[in-house]
Subunit: 405 residues, 2 copies
């Protein structure tokens, strides 16, 4: 078992063998937020035909090549084409078709002019300017050309992707199955949320915060409940989680104390421990193990310590399991907006909020940075890295930051 | 009726009388993504008692004031307190309590030292350094102090807010009711998504794109279907929408052509038109009307034109209706990453993607900017403003941009 490894080594160990867990087809409307399991390739053009962007007239551009204000041309209007109808006639020399927004361009015509720029008189229309071939014609395939891939395998379905699939007539969408993630909290001190406080006890918040983040990451949480700090109890609950879910996350019981039992529990059930402890603050005490190809991620009982590792490692695993190609944290440079007045003998991740001001990316520290402080994760959308052995960091310092969601 | 007004005037007209539509209580787990209808005030401290951050010993700091490596102090260990249990004894001079991570600090003790920094011998522990009062004690209320507001009315419930509510024992959460938004598409050219293409016809994508964006904005879409360009048909479908929903959005039939019927349809049903046309590109042809206090927003049939107005006006209305305090688009300065080689005689909004590079906020244009192009809304998370009467904009230009989601 590896011990006290770097975050990057832990990410590598955990993500290496992570694979999507299968696919299914869902109705178009249920595909919002799901991950595509196949490329979506356009089987048609959008729009399917060349069309008019205005209410106007369609005709041959060459009938206007010599035209100007003093020398207008008058064309005979042979048909009117509303949107939704196919032109019945071909446009030849000296002829025009009245055409409405979105209607198909008739055969033979290659230019469009707006009503407002013409003079109509019975079945005739007079044009006062010269037009180029193709002028103001919206070509077939302007939005999407037949054969193009509009969204790749591994992409999350967003509203415009959903809309383009609608336009292409895709009614059933191939997506990856949503992973199920079991959550277990350990600790003799934990109460359920509806229990009154008693001396020495606190309510379990970790299961609920994690369940919400798991849902946001595109997976389905299963809260298995809390268990006492007993190796057999913890082990048997983990086994139950492995049966029901694609991954198990625990909180508590993973540091060095007499009652810290996660290490023993994963041994007890015959899982292979990948590592114990990562060299960062907060969140160092955590452990990853594998049984039957499924990951067990054991996080600290301290909310912030647990969630920082969840954001820098757990979410990545869940997103990859869900089939996403963008499973890594996006990285950016940020400028500290306020001071962090503590030295960092160890590599540290600061909770903050990304703020854009005058074209610069700043980060505001979201509050107290203690291991037990959940509150500074409210409004936190970025974790900024302070290298090992750093002095206090003053406002204006540039840091590398990882976006979380 | 006002005509050709500014975006800001239209926003004012539409948002002025917009109010949340009622509240309800939901289970904690169903509150993720919902909007709080009341402030959430902590009725207790989190944690509820002062506790130990480590496995270690608790004692009186003053017993160590004179201590150093050469002059250690040895204390008698009178009790062991695991997490979840209340200390039974008071700590007095010369005594210590063995304490585990998360356990309450016993009465009388005011300092904690880690196991690793001591020497234990039977019922005695030896300490080799001087500690300050309060050292390494996690105070009660470190995360949340009793009486504090952890999240304000009008805030969207995020995972950490949900977690803090769990910690405070909030099992039923007061939230605003989700607005229902009816969607109608007009146009003789529209097919349902499962119909095969026919000459002159296109599939309706607008209803589906809008439904997805509405869901993301925290409301429930009701797709009422498509209707022909006939005043009575459009009017009666709008009436049906007003009956079932809190707002009606239509697409198509709102420009100047012979078959553009929305203006007549809202008159026909006795709605009051607030304005027709906004002075921007894309999206100028649109209309807002009110009947029985409910908004009817009539958007263009061109996807991009419809969605730009939806993002700069419709979403704002829906978010305010949903009770959100942050209903306006966040604004930022961005630096154009690539050229936009067209003059802009009218005020224009460019679709783009926000990119952070070396601490700067850049915007990459996401593709063709035509009225009919839905594709460039994929990956678009920002709309950058080009003022009226502008020359082409080259890479490096700074623009004001509005964040969309």
């Amino acid at each position: 078992m590896k011990k006290n490894i770097s975050l990057e080594e832990a990410q590598g160990l955990v993500l290496e063998s992570c694979m999507p867990i299968g696919q299914e087809f869902v109705d178009l409307h249920d595909s919002l937020g799901r991950v595509l399991s196949e490329d979506i390739k356009a089987q048609e053009n959008i729009p399917p035909f060349a069309r008019s962007p205005y209410d106007g007239y369609a005709f041959r551009a060459e009938d206007t090549f010599w035209v100007n204000k003093e020398n207008p041309v008058t064309l005979e209007v042979i048909e009117e084409v509303p949107a939704g109808y196919a032109p019945q006639q071909k446009v030849v020399q000296g002829k025009a078709v009245k055409i409405l927004t979105g209607a198909p361009i008739p055969e033979g015509a290659d230019a469009i002019i707006k009503y407002e720029e013409t003079e109509a008189n019975g079945n005739f229309v007079t044009i006062f300017s010269s037009l180029k071939s193709g002028q103001d014609v919206v070509p077939a395939g302007e939005d999407v050309a037949k054969g193009e891939i509009i969204a790749s395998k591994g992409t999350v379905v967003s509203p415009p992707i959903l809309g383009l699939m609608a336009g292409l007539g895709v009614t059933r969408v191939p997506v990856y199955r949503r992973p199920r993630i079991a959550i277990i909290s350990t600790g003799d001190e934990l109460l359920a949320i509806d229990e009154p406080l008693r001396p020495g006890k606190i309510r379990n918040s970790n299961s609920h915060t994690l369940a919400a983040y798991i849902r946001k990451a595109g997976a389905d949480p299963i809260i298995l409940g809390t268990t006492k700090d007993k190796v057999e109890e913890v082990g048997s609950l983990i086994l139950q989680g492995l049966e029901q879910a694609d991954m198990v996350i625990t909180t508590g019981g993973v540091s060095v104390g007499d009652y810290d039992v996660l290490g023993e529990a994963v041994d007890y059930i015959g899982a292979e421990t990948l590592y114990w402890k990562i060299e960062i603050k907060p969140g160092s005490p955590n452990l990853a193990a594998v049984k039957d190809g499924k990951l067990i991620l054991a996080l600290s009982g301290n909310p912030a310590a647990a969630l920082v590792i969840f954001h820098l490692l757990g979410t990545l695993y869940i997103k990859k399991l869900a089939g996403r190609i963008d499973y890594l944290n996006r990285r950016t440079e940020v400028i500290l907006k306020n001071d962090f007045r503590k030295a960092s003998p160890r590599r540290r991740f600061l909770r903050g909020k990304l703020i854009m001001e005058n074209g610069s990316a700043l980060m505001e520290i979201t509050g107290e940075q203690g291991n037990g402080v959940l509150r500074s994760l409210i409004d936190c959308d970025v974790l900024a890295e302070i290298p090992e052995g750093s002095e206090p960091q003053m406002a204006g310092t540039k840091l590398t930051a990882y976006l979380i969601d």
